[in-house]
């Protein structure tokens, strides 16, 4: 198994996300989804009061967990984790038993019209061709990063270093 730092991850920078839902839209287009399932889903949450009041957004694709509970729970072995870290499901082995949904702390697995499990695949076919997931590619705020854990960590630190001053007092709220 590849060293964890080299595993691919899909990181959402919630400080940049403005809830435009471009990721949701292109994700549905990319995966040819009908009404209903959303492989990435943006949840809107209101926090704060008065001048502190704000809208927050959390897009949730699959976390492609390092030690994926869905892979553990899947009784047929349909769910597995690729060498590069992407968690995928072999449709041929999936029997639609929903164990992955009950195991996933985030509620990522969904069940399509054929009753079998479907979820964010990190657009692995785009990645295999040298590209990036549709959501990351189309996010206007560049809030979605798809890279190795090591690279994502580096990019975020670089962003902090470069952006902290320009965003004014916002940097103080980062913890």
């Amino acid at each position: 198994m590849t060293d964890f730092m080299q595993q691919r991850t899909l990181y959402i920078d919630t400080r940049r996300c403005m809830g435009c839902r471009a990721c949701e839209t292109v994700c549905k287009l990319e995966n040819d989804l009908p009404a209903g399932p959303r492989f990435t889903m943006v949840t809107e949450v209101e926090t704060g009061e008065g001048t502190e009041e704000r809208l927050n957004f959390l897009p949730m694709p699959c976390q492609h967990c390092g030690d994926a509970p869905c892979v553990r729970a899947c009784p047929t072995g349909a769910l597995f984790k690729r060498e590069d870290g992407i968690v995928l499901s072999e449709q041929e082995r999936c029997i639609g038993c929903h164990e992955c949904l009950w195991a996933c702390p985030f509620g990522i697995p969904q069940f399509g019209s054929n009753g079998l499990m479907q979820k964010c695949t990190m657009c692995f076919n785009r990645i295999d061709e040298g590209g990036e997931p549709a959501c990351a590619h189309n996010c206007p705020a560049e809030a979605i990063l798809c890279d190795t854990v090591e690279n994502v960590s580096r990019i975020l630190r670089e962003r902090y270093a470069k952006d902290a001053n320009r965003m004014g007092g916002y940097a103080d709220k980062l913890d």
């Binding site: 994926a68 509970p69 597995f80």
Partner: protein
């Protein structure tokens, strides 16, 4: 006059019937016809021992009635066998002279009991097999007081219990190999099984081969390598072999084990001809090797896959797992995966536990569960079955699906089961 059929199925057992129903449901416009050797709709072969014992009436052995087929629009042509298949013209000719032209053909010819025809006396009245309803009817009609059952597989085991339940005064099971079902059970488990069978009143003789059948006009006894056993009937349960005669004459390729070779979509080498059920060579999911698995579940599932694929879908077969399972008459015994004899001696580990009538064994290789045997309990077998299947997938994947416990040799079977349960729900610490 040659009748045209979209999907022609040869065989009216579990595989053939599953194929028919799956195909029709997937594509109600498909014309489906089943040609069956017996003059019966689908029945449950695994239920035959209960039919023999008297526990079940015939109607409880049947899986489908004529109405079920009619409702689904599946046509039946029973009591006839196929004489010839012309794969180029896609025409099938039966013994009675009927002709059918097919779009797609599914071969589900099943299996036949192995019989020692060259052994003297095996053609006398009183020799029986347990393959069809007709076999059971004949056995019941024949009657008798003392029975010898040859073999200790599913037929031997359940057959001997059924005969005892039926009221045979003396039932003796004779097994040629060193202990009972050595391909599925280790000696310790076989000993436990023997004790259970003895408690039922069945005498068990292992390490004794049948060498001859004695009798003038009918069976009077069996001669083994050690003794002569007087008996009225002999139930031969020495195995089944895939029925591939029709496949051979049609030029359908057989696998290395002598059964019909199919790909993962149940296709044979001949275009438009699929095969499923007991007649095919499967892939053992656990070992990855070719295997002949003569069980109900692979037949139903394989039939379903073949039927769906003939209806235009693209389903995968995925192979099968051999499960030794008997649960009747107060006895339950289950075994799958590697026996201890099959374990790598350097990497293998056996955990066993006895509690009253319950005896359990778990076999590990390199820390991964690879074999299970249990008698008089079925607790948690479902979990262990899943784990073994997942462990086998390691072969095809580069990632670990199930972790290895540390200090396995210090764990009890209960510890292992709790550990495996925890593994399914990783987030709990």
């Amino acid at each position: 006059m040659t009748e045209r059929v979209d999907l022609l199925i040869i065989g009216s057992g579990a595989a053939g019937t599953s194929a028919a129903f799956a195909a029709r449901r997937a594509d109600p416009g498909l014309s489906v016809l089943i040609i069956g050797k017996e003059n019966r709709t689908e029945y449950s072969a695994p239920a035959l021992p209960d039919y023999l014992s008297g526990e079940l009436e015939l109607d409880k052995v049947m899986v489908r009635t004529k109405e079920d087929y009619d409702r689904e629009g599946i046509r039946l042509h029973l009591n006839d066998t196929v004489a010839r298949i012309d794969p180029k013209k896609r025409v099938v000719k039966t013994e009675s002279g009927k002709s059918f032209r097919y779009e797609n053909l599914i071969l589900a010819t099943g299996s036949l009991p192995i019989q020692l025809r060259r052994m003297k006396g095996t053609d006398l009245p009183g020799n029986f097999v347990m393959k069809t309803v007709g076999d059971i009817d004949a056995m019941i009609a024949y009657g008798g007081k003392n029975a010898v059952v040859v073999g200790s597989g599913a037929i031997g085991l359940e057959g001997s219990m059924a005969l005892k339940a039926r009221g045979y005064k003396k039932v003796t099971m004779v097994e040629a190999l060193d202990w009972l079902s050595p391909k599925s059970l280790d000696k310790a488990m076989s000993d436990e099984l023997t004790a259970n069978l003895n408690a039922f009143g069945i005498e068990v003789l292992a390490g004794e081969a049948v060498e001859g059948v004695i009798g003038e006009t009918k069976v009077e006894g069996v001669v083994t390598s050690r003794r002569t056993i007087p008996c009225d009937i002999i139930l031969w349960g020495i195995g089944m072999r895939p029925d591939v005669e029709l496949a051979k004459t049609t030029g359908i390729e057989l696998g290395e084990l002598g059964a019909v070779r199919v790909d993962d979509r149940m296709r044979t080498n001949v275009p438009h001809i699929y095969a499923c059920g007991d007649c095919i060579e499967s892939v053992d999911k656990l070992s990855g090797k070719p295997a002949v698995h003569l069980f109900w579940e692979p037949a139903q599932r394989g039939g379903t896959v073949a039927g769906l694929n003939c209806a235009g879908l693209d389903k995968a077969w995925g192979g099968s797992v051999a499960v030794f399972l008997t649960h009747k008459g107060g006895l339950s015994i289950v075994g799958f995966g590697k026996t201890e004899a099959e374990l790598d001696p350097l990497k293998g580990l056996v955990l066993e536990e006895r509690k009253g009538k319950v005896y359990r064994r778990l076999h590990f290789e390199d820390g991964l569960l690879c074999g299970v045997q249990m008698i008089n309990t079925l607790d948690d077998v479902d979990l262990l079955f899943d784990v073994i299947t997942k462990n086998a997938l390691e072969r095809d994947r580069k990632c670990r699906l199930v972790k290895k416990p540390e200090h396995l040799d210090e764990m009890t079977i209960t510890d292992v089961i709790y550990w495996l349960r925890k593994e399914r729900r990783a987030v709990i610490l």
